[in-house]
Amino acid sequence: MRHYRWAALIATGLALAALPVLARTMYARLSTPVRSGQGLAAQTVGTLKQGQAVEVLGREGSYYRVSHAGQTGWVYFNKLAEDKPEDMSVLLTGGGLGGGIKLTELQTGGALRGLSPMAEDYAAARNVPQWAVQAVEEMQARTIDAEQLEEFQQEGGLGEYGEEVAR
């Protein structure tokens, strides 16, 4: 009888330990569609915003099965992260050493504008030529939005567009 009790306890423990695997929370790395099935041809049934939490019910091949807005859908594996991505909204206004820097938008296409006053002071103090300051401003202002990234992946057969990744 005692053995049965132990067995029941162990089984309960194992079942509880398995729960997070069966259903766990993940987060959207970027704004991403939730589809009715696996593959790009499946209908879009919802959209996850960047950083939005979603309940993951399981994984099949390269897709996560998720529960979103009361229905079940599928999201490509590389669109979700285990940890909640940093909230970059602080960069929209700046502050402290980062004052003077402004992020144009929070989505993938967001680019930084301007140099912080501390960076400007440092450049002046170390006699950095203007062209180098301009080079930094240009590199950080280069905008690549989500649509352009999508086209780039499609053209190269990368990620969801590549058959070979699906496993």
Binding site: L97, L112, A119
Partner: protein, 303 residues
């Protein structure tokens, strides 16, 4: 009372040193030590000797951490300060916007798979025949034309950018500066983050010297090699892109590593570590390398 204050401080400092040595920087540690310094200042009775008290306050403030305290705007500001100097030292931007955009496109795609996908990463190609790449806090990644000429495919570029992105995403640059005893003795991190101009300039000078002369040690390089392959794989690329460099490096008397300025960790060990990571990724043999697109977008355009 004095003994108790000293005992508390010793405990805090020992804890701080242990955390720094173990590499597990605690986000609250700097805050605690800063608070300890404030308490000593506000209660002079704890340490009556003025000179002793000043030393304890200075000591507690000196070990304030960077990694735990720096916020993203501050990190970006540091990256900007370092990047302006890097351009002067390494070379001007390559004057072809198509090449710049292509590298940035691959970089952004790979960076989305990092631990910090929302950080606004910035990429630039600079004119230099020397194969070189540099990652700076806040998401600034620079690669030389000399390095781009050595590559044969977009997947190799993706893995190299992934390696650099890892240094940013995991804040390796800030961590190695923070762990450096010499830098800690020269810079009051707390004052620099509180916008003390003199301390801030000193911090950036020290950071710049550290990142561009010594670079990263074996531990960080191993992490970056593994993460670079992992990010590239998740982005959809064939993940073996770093292997040709490490193999060439291991077989040559002359270092071929793409971070030209750094100390030179053992390539054979790095190869073993990378193989171990690649095995975890499963069967990737048929994943795209995109040699033709790289040829068209980069090699055909580099003069």
């Amino acid at each position: 009372m004095r003994c108790r204050a000293i005992a508390v401080l010793i405990c805090l400092c020992t804890l701080a040193a242990a955390m720094l040595l173990s590499g597990s920087a605690c986000e609250n540690m700097g805050e605690n030590l800063g608070r300890a310094a404030e308490i000593i200042e506000q209660h002079p009775g704890l340490i009556r000797d003025e000179e002793d008290r000043a030393k304890w306050v200075q000591g507690a403030r000196t070990v304030r951490t960077l990694k735990g305290e720096v916020d993203t705007p501050q990190e970006v500001a540091m990256g900007q300060s370092l990047a302006v100097r890097a351009f002067v030292a390494f070379g001007e931007p390559y004057p072809d916007e198509a090449v710049q955009r292509y590298v940035a496109m691959v970089g952004k795609l790979v960076a989305l798979q990092s631990e910090r996908p929302t950080l606004p990463y910035s990429f630039a190609v600079f004119k230099s025949d020397r194969p070189n790449a540099l990652a700076l806090p806040g998401g600034f990644v620079l690669v030389s034309t000399g390095l781009l000429r050595m590559l044969g495919s977009e997947s190799e570029l993706a893995c190299i950018l992934g390696h650099e992105i890892c240094h940013v995403a995991q804040k390796h640059g800030i961590e190695i500066v923070e762990r450096d005893t010499k830098v800690r003795s020269l810079v009051d991190f707390g004052a620099a983050l509180d916008e003390d101009v003199g301390e801030y300039r000193e911090l950036i000078d020290q950071m710049y010297a550290k990142l561009t002369t010594e670079g990263y040690d074996q531990r960080y390089e191993e992490k970056a090699d593994r993460a670079g392959a992992r990010y590239a794989y998740r982005a959809g690329y064939h993940p073996e892109g770093l292997m040709p460099f490490l193999k060439a490096d291991a077989d040559s008397d002359r270092p071929l590593a793409f971070e030209a300025y750094k100390t030179h960790p053992d390539s054979r060990q790095r190869i073993r570590d990378l193989r171990d990571e690649l095995e975890k990724l499963g069967d990737y043999a048929a994943m795209p390398k995109l040699e033709a697109r790289y040829q068209r977008q980069v090699l055909a355009k580099l003069r």
